[in-house]
């Protein structure tokens, strides 16, 4: 069974486990995301790169004990996208030439399908790296790592807070949906009906979220978040020479790829 924050917290996507993946410094995992993005989008245009990176992320997720959530979230994100893109590009991509099959007299093309597969693999590689980070890094660790590196705490919170606020917003949506349903709002049915229902959900969601953010900002102020002077850091994020070398290696790997990409026509 998944264990979110200690004792079923679940406010973030983070899953609490004490594995090597979890113990990695947040910057190491961030470097992996950056390296993945660079290799996938600027590196050699080869599926083998993407497949290798996805495999690496899968192995890391397995080792980190987060494979179930990793798998579920990856599919939840990729499947609708895959269905949508396959249909659009399979039928309508401008380079379409080789017919694979026809559906109600409409030809479905190989070029569109290959293009979709290529885009989806790139996205899947990047999503896998991001999921590794989100599922195995507590926002608190990220914030602490940023402040330990000497960056302003406000910036650290700006980076860390979306990880916290998104799941909270998801919970709020569910509450609003339930409340609106209980008042007779029809959230099922055709697209027009659902589109109309969207307004009834979005208005309280946006207003409620704005109030939440304001209150959270006040709460932080009241607890000296912007107090001048040196802060005490009780929690320290473990780092090691090997991780520093790993991060430098990833950056070193990215640089020639970026330079080559900029210089190539």
């Amino acid at each position: 069974m998944q264990q979110h924050d200690p004792a079923t917290g679940g406010a973030t996507l983070y899953i609490h486990k004490g594995t090597r993946l979890h113990r990695l410094h947040p910057f190491t995992k961030l470097c992996y995301i950056v390296a993945t993005a660079v290799l996938v989008y600027l590196g050699p245009n080869s599926w083998s790169v993407e497949i290798s990176l996805i495999s690496l992320s899968l192995i890391a997720a397995l080792e980190g004990g987060i494979i179930a959530a990793f798998w579920r979230l990856a599919w939840c994100t990729m499947l609708p996208l895959a269905l949508f893109m396959t249909v659009i590009h399979g039928f309508l991509h401008p380079d379409n030439n080789t017919i694979l099959f026809t559906v109600i007299d409409q030809p479905f093309y190989q070029e569109g399908l290959l293009f979709t597969a290529s885009i989806l693999l790139q996205l899947a590689a990047l999503l896998s790296a991001s999921l590794l980070f989100v599922l195995s890094t507590h926002p608190a660790d990220l914030v602490t790592a940023i402040t330990e590196a000497g960056w302003p705490t406000a910036l650290a919170y700006l980076v860390g807070s979306p990880l916290l606020l998104l799941p909270a917003m998801r919970r709020r949506i569910r509450t609003i949906q339930a409340a609106q349903r209980s008042r007779g709002l029809d959230l099922e049915g055709n697209r027009l009906k659902r589109f109309r229902a969207l307004f009834a959900i979005m208005a309280p969601l946006v207003l409620g979220s704005l109030i939440d953010i304001e209150q959270r900002a006040i709460a932080l102020e009241l607890r000296g978040f912007n107090a001048p002077g040196r802060k005490t850091n009780r929690r320290r994020i473990a780092d090691s020479s090997s991780q520093k070398i790993l991060r430098l290696s990833m950056i070193a790997l990215c640089l020639p790829v970026i330079i080559f990409s900029l210089l190539s026509p």
Binding site: G9, A11, A140, G160, A168, I218, A219, L222, K231
Partner: protein
């Protein structure tokens, strides 16, 4: 000793046309427990925010008058400076969590870390307030894994860890069930015993009647009434501003009309006063 002094405070939010607080003056003595009551939009939250310096530092608007916390003018000190003098606990428990700490213990320590308190002292102070708020057994839990009542106690503990002289609570039990609300009240009573100055905006009048030293009534941003719970809660002004008398007071009032309540005895605001009032009657005797 004066803990908090407000003089001729008028505040209008930048987005508002009418002042949320108008010409309000108030003095609170050290160790006092003051209840703030009033209907919706009467200015309770604005008053609490002004006491803690959230107004005018956080909310824009026209601010006239003065708010002094232990002789410190709130306009001349930042919120983080004032936070050592005055703590504020708000309504929604979840919104008061920093979201930046793993455990209940770390969450309470967060404010002290920001203020640069030494690690050893942080550990001692956090352990102390967790003990006071009954959260010691939950210190390793995630703040998000707690119930609403426990989260509100955590918010209270987080404010208390900084050791402010004054504690302001803006309807802290609104989102809590009666049991959790009662537990929060029990902590406040313990704090009062320790001599902490407490300002509590609260809808549960029966509890204020029992525990507050003084109650102030706000209506349309103005101070409508101030006095002991017995004086304030049985005053007709309570009904005029849109609140209602407590059931004890209403029953005694009806009884008084029928001669079943001693004419010279003040109307009760607590169960004990009600029992004493009716208990003083001999069976079957109608008071003249």
């Amino acid at each position: 000793m004066i803990a908090l002094e407000i003089s001729c405070l008028t505040f209008t939010y930048a987005t508002g046309r009418q002042p949320a607080i108008t010409n309000l003056s108030l003095t609170i003595q050290s160790g006092e427990m003051v209840g703030v009551i009033g209907p919706n939009n009467s200015g309770k939250s604005t008053l609490c925010s002004a006491m803690a310096g959230i107004i005018p530092h956080f909310h824009d608007g026209r601010f006239n008058g003065s708010v002094q916390v232990a002789t410190h003018e709130t306009t001349e000190h930042s919120i983080s400076e004032l936070t050592r003098l005055i703590g504020l606990v708000m309504q929604r428990p979840e919104n008061q969590l920093s979201g930046m700490r793993y455990t209940v213990f770390d969450e309470v320590a967060f404010g002290l870390e920001n203020l640069g308190v030494k690690e050893k002292e942080i550990d001692e102070r956090v352990a102390e307030v967790l003990d006071l708020t009954g959260l010691s057994s939950l210190s390793d839990r995630s703040p998000y894994g707690l119930s609403g009542g426990q989260q509100q106690k955590l918010a209270l503990a987080s404010a208390l860890a900084i050791s402010p002289e004054i504690l302001v609570l803006d309807e802290p039990t609104t989102f809590l069930d009666p049991l959790a609300a009662r537990q929060v009240f029990d902590i406040l009573l313990e704090l009062r015993k320790q001599g902490k100055t407490i300002v509590l905006a609260e809808q549960r009048l029966e509890w204020l009647a029992e525990f507050a030293d003084r109650i102030i009534v706000l209506a349309d941003g103005k101070l409508a009434l101030s006095g002991t719970p017995a004086e304030v809660l049985s005053d007709p002004i309570i009904k005029e501003v849109g609140l209602d008398w407590l059931a004890y007071t209403r029953v005694a009032k009806m009884a008084k009309v029928k001669g079943l309540w001693p004419q010279k005895r003040p109307l009760p605001v607590t169960l004990a006063e009600t029992v004493a009032g009716f208990g003083g009657l001999q069976e079957g005797k109608v008071c003249g």
